[in-house]
């Protein structure tokens, strides 16, 4: 049976990837490890945004805020009391937060839950309406979160941010969490609830006339989305080990929109590929932003150029190649076999064109 074969193939693939990750963690140089880890984190951002935008049709721009809440909660829960006391020298930290210190995994999950709770403050009023206010409300949410991060000194250390967050995030954690996130999202969109989410995206009036409770399915996607975005934020904090409110500027949400649209709205595979390519290219293109010396010749770098390239690419995709990398198709074993089975015909065709 093809279904059984595919299941075995998937299990084998997961095992192989796990072994590779473990091997990479032991042997790969830390710089490459960091890029791969970042790829997983950005993939989580893109997958979660795809769930609410690509599958449910709701333009939620709150990812910077979600990531911020997840990052701060996870960071504060994993830092040692001594570290926290050292950080909060302007105003002491609230005693409860000072004393608590949790292992990484529970801290991440709590970060995810807190993100959901906080995000519901804007999600509930905005998603109840049939309209476009969600984008503004969630963008505003990110701004509120930033204002709060700056002003709630005893909770967040204000503009100074948090330093010395333990570097808990590694390849296995990041890709493991991404795997969990993709598993949940994929199962969700392939279920009856996923069909309802897509119907809301395609036509709200028709969906409602067929008995789909719009609010329930929008909020469902929103909750799952913000939960994993919060976890991704937590992973990010424990990777870069220093965070402050500026890390979570709203442009982070714009980047995530770009990554997701380029990967294909409605394709989780596309989101992951796109996020990984994004992270890698951002690293490869780093030289154009710094000064290059060739002998005595100095070519000045152009700071910010990478993002210009990225946003131009994004607009090109939106205007001329709306499907992005993957359209709304996913990687499947069957598609892979179909692809492998007829590379010859493909070559022939290419030959003809050439």
């Amino acid at each position: 049976m093809a279904a059984k074969r595919n299941l075995y193939l998937t299990l084998v693939a997961i095992t192989v990837v796990a072994i590779l990750l473990w091997f990479a963690q032991e042997n790969l140089n830390p710089y490459y490890q960091r890029i791969l880890t970042l790829s997983a984190i950005y993939s989580m951002f893109a997958v979660t945004f795809n769930l609410i935008f690509g599958y449910t049709g709701q333009f939620s721009l709150g990812h910077a805020g979600f990531a911020a809440v997840g990052a701060y909660v996870t960071a504060l829960l994993t830092m040692s009391p001594a570290q926290k006391v050292a950080n909060f020298f302007l105003q002491p930290i609230v005693p409860f937060l000072r004393d608590v210190e949790l292992p990484f995994l529970p801290a991440l999950l709590i970060g995810g839950f807190v993100t959901v709770l906080v995000s519901l403050i804007v999600g509930v009023p905005a998603l109840r309406l049939r309209g476009d206010y969600l984008a503004i409300a969630t963008l505003g949410f990110s701004e509120i979160i930033r204002v709060l991060l700056v002003n709630l000194q005893p909770l967040t250390n204000g503009a100074l941010g948090l330093k010395g967050i333990p570097s808990n995030t590694n390849l296995l954690y990041a890709w493991g969490m991404l795997g969990f996130c993709v598993f949940v999202c994929k199962r969700l969109v392939d279920s009856s609830y996923g069909r309802a989410m897509k119907s809301v995206r395609d036509d709200e009036v028709a969906a409602e006339a067929l008995g789909v409770n719009l609010f329930k399915h929008k909020i469902l996607a929103y909750i799952v989305s913000s939960f994993f975005a919060g976890i991704a934020g937590g992973l990010l904090a424990n990777l870069i080990s220093t965070i402050d409110p500026k890390v979570f500027y709203y442009t982070l949400a714009y980047q995530i929109v770009g990554i997701t649209v380029m990967g294909g709205m409605g394709s989780l595979t596309g989101s992951i590929i796109s996020a990984s390519l994004y992270t890698i290219f951002l690293e490869l293109l780093r030289p154009i932003e710094s000064q290059i010396n060739i002998g005595s010749l100095q070519i000045p770098g152009i700071p910010g150029m990478r993002m210009v390239i990225f946003s131009v690419l994004l607009l090109v995709v939106i205007l001329f190649y709306r499907k992005g990398l993957m359209g709304d198709t996913e990687f499947t074993w069957d598609a892979l076999f179909r692809f492998l089975r007829k590379p010859k015909g493909r070559n022939d065709q290419e030959g003809k064109v050439a």
Partner: protein
């Protein structure tokens, strides 16, 4: 026969415009009733009020002796009223079978967590949805297209798919909004036969909007004619055909068109 739907003095105003004015009627179980009238006479508005898309300015909608005016569309569908749309509104992101299975989503008992974990109960429900979805498609002659994109179907089949999708919600009352719009007279006639056969097969009550009177003359025992949101005539096809007000208001417009 039992009263299924009762509309009591319905009024719907948009700003200063009165779209429906004091509309009252009763539909009995098993009835097939047509609502006709010239363009812009308020036909679809009446459907939108019944299905909860609009809240009536005044008046009530009773369904199975329960006042459903002002409750949300999805809840009304849950009570047993399904509809189709004048301008076909299929879900492009779902295949033909998916469109029908979506109609069954309203009856799912498993919660989201069960759906994600794929508990035996959820798997069973999904399987039942799949089989009955296929049965429904088969009954309406769409089984061959189960995995096609809905927009790839020919026009007439898209209309049938919309009916199939509405039937999937297991309604008692089916509202059809100009099901024969844009069809040739012979296709329209075939569709009307199809509708009567569906009605018997699924034990339905049908309320249908039609723009052209001759399409419904043959199959609907009762016809309501409205103009400017008001009932101007009601009765058997013969009575309607010989009604002077109808000829004046309705056929008069028709000859100009």
């Amino acid at each position: 026969m039992a009263v299924l739907l009762q509309l009591d003095h319905l009024v719907k105003k948009f700003g200063g415009i009165v779209a429906i004015n004091d509309f009252s009627t009763i539909l009995h179980q098993g009835e097939l009733c047509a609502l006709i009238g010239p363009n812009g006479s308020g036909k679809t508005t009446i459907f939108n009020v019944i299905t909860g898309i609009y809240t009536p300015t005044s008046g009530q909608v009773h369904f199975n002796n329960e006042d459903i005016s002002g409750i949300k569309p999805d809840q009304i569908t849950g009570r047993g009223i399904a509809r189709t749309f004048q301008n076909i509104r299929l879900f492009k992101g779902l295949d033909v079978l998916g469109n029908v299975m979506l109609g069954m989503h309203i009856h799912i008992a498993s919660n989201v967590a069960e759906a994600i974990i794929r508990t035996p109960r959820y798997n069973l429900e999904e399987k039942v949805m799949h089989t009955s979805g296929m049965e429904l498609l088969d009954a309406l002659g769409l089984a061959d297209f189960a995995h096609a994109e809905p927009t790839s179907l020919p026009y007439g089949k898209q209309r049938k798919l919309e009916i199939a999708r509405a039937l999937a919600t297991k309604p008692q009352l089916l509202l059809l909004d100009e099901p024969a719009a844009g069809m040739s007279p012979s296709d329209a006639e075939e569709l009307m036969d199809f509708i009567t056969s569906v009605m018997q097969k699924f034990d339905l009550t049908i309320f249908l909007i039609e723009h052209q009177m001759r399409v419904v003359m043959g199959i609907c025992p009762r016809i309501i004619v409205i103009d400017h949101g008001e009932i101007i005539a009601e009765g058997t096809p013969e009575e309607i055909q010989n009604n002077n007000r109808v000829i004046e208001a309705y056929l008069g417009v028709e000859t100009h068109a």
